[in-house]
């Protein structure tokens, strides 16, 4: 299977040349299910926290995008309380030439640059727009409360 070959290669490359601040490993029983740990980017309210995500490669991958969601509770306008992420490349802008690596990098970038104009969590986005300072404060607080402290 071409898709399996691609997944194996991707895993191999992720191990050989890991993305700084991101750890992605398939679980033993299923090569399509990845456990991901992502460090909050510097100069963001998520700095100093390590967030857990799950990533699943559907049958149609790479023609269809991977399914990714945060398992750690997040205070972010584009992430809802179930951890689902609003990101164009995970939806209509997906291209088979994108990879797990690029997807995770995009998510990390989304943490640095929240986009309250295209919200998934409406209440959070509202807060972000009306009182950004307070929103960032809450996000920092949540990072302390829910994220795994860095080793």
């Amino acid at each position: 299977m071409a898709a399996t070959k691609r997944i194996l290669k991707e895993v191999e490359r992720l191990n050989k040349d890991p993305v700084p601040g991101i750890l992605a490993q398939p679980i033993e029983s299923n090569i399509r299910y990845f456990e991901v740990y992502m460090d909050g980017p510097a100069q963001s309210p998520y700095e100093g926290g390590r967030f857990k995500l799950e990533l699943f490669l559907p049958e149609e991958y790479p023609m269809a995008p991977p399914k990714v969601r945060f398992l750690t509770k997040m205070y972010h306008p584009n992430i809802d309380k179930l951890g689902r992420i609003c990101l164009d490349i995970l939806k209509d802008k997906w291209s088979p030439a994108l990879q797990i690596r690029t997807v995770l990098l995009s998510i990390q970038a989304l943490l640095s640059a929240p986009n309250p104009d295209d919200p998934l969590a409406n209440d959070v986005a509202e807060q972000w727009k009306t009182n950004e300072k307070l929103a960032i404060q809450t996000a920092t607080q949540w990072t302390k409360m829910y994220a795994i402290p860095p080793q």
Partner: protein, 564 residues
């Protein structure tokens, strides 16, 4: 009205003219192109035959740079140009009334295309623009598609800044032809990570190569999802489109996907253009071209007839609603659908209990009301508490007080509006029902015709007058139906009276004809009836033509005021 065209022997002479007319028009346009053809051969840039603006000159200039190619293409495809030579939706369209006598005022020019003709049409346009832009066929197609087939802005943009125009449209500036290759040891497919010189890859003009299998899977996925020309290169941030040539190369051998791809292309050709619509009849494969611009829809009713028999309005795709313009027709249908009239009825016929607000209909008895819900006693006339009425049980002496008067006035106004609506709706509905009955009538008429043929040993052609009459009846019913919609929204004035006279003339004649056709035996001997029906049919038809001509002109002249 399609019947007129499809069975020309079924109706009167003018219909043949109508059919001929469309052919005539094509001859006319072809000859125009022939003229232009000559001009371009001579490189006569100054007085090209189509000097509406400076465009022809530009065409001619471009042609002059590559004379041989131009000549070839022009002579080869001259027959396919048709009216699309002007190709701009509506810009040079003369609304409805042309100076040519053959066309009746309410008729609009239109043409029906089957899918093959649509494909041929696209190819013809591309072939015509190819030498003008001097781009590859693939690039020309993509450019035209991304400009929604509007050739004038495309030529303008392209001549101003070819590179920018190409890039914006998603076409590679470097127009190397896409191909399938192998034998590059440095190649790695970024989708499946297969690598090496054995790998067969697809190399489009943007230079982003992927292995054939992956590219094809990607393409087929989009094609099955309904996409046609807006399929981008899989590379993120690359905006180049997969052209037709490349797509056909990849899909070669996969008949199902190819067929789907072709269907999608044709579909987008029709959907992308303002001057084309699909016939809205279920399972109909035809598309209609008509150059009535959106802006003319308030004064024009572009009624068109598909080959499948469906007669509909080009502007809104509802079934034919001549002579009411689109905006009035849709308002009317909405009004009939929503229950604003129900609420009007409630307003007119009921009152609210002033205490508990229950809706009460007075169905008899005196003015002393007792609310069933809250047992509140009040006077129906002035709505005041009954206790203040003393012993005047049967008349309310507070009736003429100012406040009661106002309340009463507002109720009667609503009542008047409702009555007006019901007046028009009854007549509209009556004609709709009668039109349905006319279909039944057609069946009985056919039986009658057979009977006549047998009994009086008449030939088939001699009994056709009956079915002609039924045809005219059903058209008139449809027109009459919509005249009531027009009248409903019309502001009353002298012009409206003239309109209503026309309407009532047609209506009366239609009803008489209906009676003649339905009960022929009540009207004397067969020869007598035949003459009567033929006469009446001719008369009704002339009334119908008068009404339509008059309303068409009236709408264009803004003769009537309509309520907002």
């Amino acid at each position: 009205m399609y019947k007129y065209e499809s069975d020309s022997d079924n109706f009167m002479d003018e219909d043949d003219e109508f059919v001929d007319y469309s052919e005539e028009e094509h001859d006319f346009t072809d000859s125009e192109f022939a003229m232009d053809d000559e001009n371009s051969d001579d490189n006569d840039t100054e007085d090209a035959g189509i000097a509406h603006d400076d465009r022809p000159r530009r065409y001619a200039e471009t042609q002059a740079t590559q004379p041989t190619q131009t000549q070839n293409t022009f002579s080869a495809d001259a027959g396919d140009f048709e009216d699309d030579f002007y190709g701009i939706d509506g810009a040079e369209f003369e609304p409805v009334i042309s100076s040519r006598g053959a066309k009746r005022p309410w008729e609009v020019d239109f043409k029906v295309y089957d899918p093959d003709e649509l494909q041929a049409k696209q190819e013809a346009i591309v072939a015509r623009m190819e030498p003008v832009l001097a781009t590859s066929r693939d690039a020309t197609t993509l450019l035209l598609r991304s400009y929604l087939w509007k050739d004038e802005p495309l030529v303008e943009d392209y001549l101003t800044d070819p590179e920018r125009t190409l890039t914006k449209a998603g076409v590679a500036v470097d127009q190397t032809r896409p191909c399938i290759q192998s034998g590059d040891s440095a190649f790695e497919c970024k989708i499946c990570f297969s690598e090496g010189s054995d790998e067969e890859y697809f190399a489009p003009s943007c230079g982003h190569r992927y292995c054939t299998t992956c590219y094809k899977t990607y393409l087929v996925g989009h094609v099955l999802g309904g996409a046609s020309w807006r399929i981008k290169c899989p590379t993120p941030k690359c905006n180049m489109l997969v052209g037709e040539e490349g797509a056909r190369l990849l899909l070669a051998g996969d008949e199902e996907s190819l067929a789907r791809y072709n269907t999608n292309l044709t579909r987008s050709f029709v959907n992308d253009r303002d001057s084309f619509v699909w016939c809205p009849a279920p399972n109909c494969k035809y598309a209609i071209e008509c150059h009535v611009p959106r802006s003319a829809l308030r004064t024009t009713v572009p009624s068109v007839a598909c080959i499948c028999g469906n007669q509909f309005c080009f502007g809104c795709q509802l079934s034919d609603h001549m002579p009411a313009p689109c905006h009035l027709a849709s308002r009317w249908l909405e009004k009939c659908r929503d229950d604003s009239e129900t609420s009007s009825w409630i307003k007119v016929n009921t009152k609210e209990c002033t205490k508990c607000k229950s809706t009460i209909e007075k169905n008899g008895g005196c003015n002393h009301m007792t609310c069933r819900e809250c047992r509140y006693e009040f006077c129906w006339v002035c709505m005041g508490p009954w206790s203040e009425h003393g012993q005047h049980f049967y008349n309310c002496n507070r009736f003429n007080e100012e406040s009661s008067k106002e309340a009463r006035d507002s109720v009667s106004e609503t009542r008047a509006q409702l009555e007006r609506y019901i007046h028009y709706f009854t007549r509209y509905n009556n004609h709709e029902q009668s039109a349905k009955l006319a279909r039944k009538l057609l069946a009985t008429t056919e039986k009658n015709m057979e009977q006549l043929q047998r009994e009086l040993t008449l030939s088939w052609i001699e009994v056709q007058f009956l079915s002609d009459a039924v045809d005219v009846l059903s058209i008139c019913r449809s027109t009459l139906k919509w005249t009531y919609v027009l009248a409903f929204y019309m502001k009353p004035d002298n012009q409206m009276i003239i309109f209503e006279n026309n309407q009532s003339d047609l209506e009366m004649a239609t009803e008489q004809l209906n009676d003649l056709v339905e009960n022929p035996t009540n009207h004397g001997a067969i020869e007598d009836i035949k003459r009567k029906i033929i006469d009446k049919t001719t008369y009704v038809k002339s009334r119908w033509e008068t009404l339509l001509s008059d309303t068409t002109l009236g709408l264009q002249e803004n003769r009537w005021q309509f309520v907002d």
